[in-house]
Symmetry: C2
Subunit: 184 residues, 2 copies
């Protein structure tokens, strides 16, 4: 990257660095000034793209929901594949995932965020509905909630490093087996 006055893709860079920083040290460690430092840019530059710190977190969460939604579309109709893909998304996008479910950091009603979240939760619900009802061990209205709880809980525990002694196991494969046995 040459030393030009214009960065060229500062918005993209800031989002990437933010995800990385959050993955490393949690959302509390995030500051616009630190991101500016990492991007080699003046400390006031990030505000140009995100207005303020809160705006950045909201943008990151919205991006996360959009990406997760795209993943859900790709595996639609397959319960096991959905569970695997969901957990793999969380594990490979830890910075995004941690922010997506921190309601306390996402105040206000940003239109993009609300839309992305709605779309993704609708896709999750549709995914469960598409499963053959005879194969489900749980009545439909709660089956979606149970499945979401399972994958969200697993992903959260994994990211928190609360799951010990299984660090060599692939989390995607593990949740796949669990989902198959519980909902298969």
């Amino acid at each position: 990257m040459p030393d030009t006055y214009h960065h060229g893709s500062l918005r993209r860079t800031i989002l990437d660095q933010a995800a990385e920083l959050i993955a490393e040290a949690g959302p509390d460690a995030l500051s616009l000034r630190e991101l500016a430092r990492r991007a080699g840019v003046s400390h006031a530059a990030p505000a140009h793209h995100f207005v303020d710190r809160s705006g950045l977190l909201i943008a990151l969460a919205a991006e996360g929901f959009t990406r997760l939604g795209d993943v859900m579309v790709a595996v639609a109709g397959d319960m096991k594949a959905t569970a695997v893909a969901y957990v793999r998304f969380a594990v490979t996008n830890p910075g995004h995932y941690q922010v997506m479910f921190r309601r306390d950091l996402l105040t206000g009603d940003d239109a993009d965020l609300v839309a992305a979240r709605s779309r993704t939760t609708a896709l999750l619900a549709a995914g469960v509905r598409s499963v053959d009802p005879d194969k489900l061990r749980v009545p439909l209205p709660v089956a979606g909630l149970a499945a979401w709880s399972l994958v969200h809980g697993f992903a959260s525990l994994w990211l928190d490093r609360s799951i010990e002694g299984v660090s060599e196991v692939d989390p995607g494969q593990m949740i796949g087996e669990i989902a198959e046995q519980l909902f298969g």
Copy 2:
């Protein structure tokens, strides 16, 4: 409470206020000065009991794990009751619960915290092992992980207000039904 020089139970008060404040506005909103203000005490007083902000969060998490462990003991051997009690604990102690699984806020190896966490996770694992193996739909090694993921995910989604349209339902009862159908 008379206007005495000594507060009398400042440690207890600070912990309670911290849990309340976190429940209201998330862990980011927590500061020793704000807690001192709420307790009507000089801003340097809290540090007397917790050394620093991090120490307070660690003490709160340790207390949470201890309480949750006690709850687990009370329902030992009953899978459904365990699930219900777990979620009820999270819902009625949101301040504690939010901090307990924020590894990024609990740096260092505080002995009390490590002990409380180990005890509680061991109790959870023992709870699952005590279930009749013939009734479990999942092989034991992963059954505990699946059950924990389910209740933790459910509790987290509930606390995040990610579960919509069910606000009038009792979360304990709901997870009880799910656990019964999945693991009963």
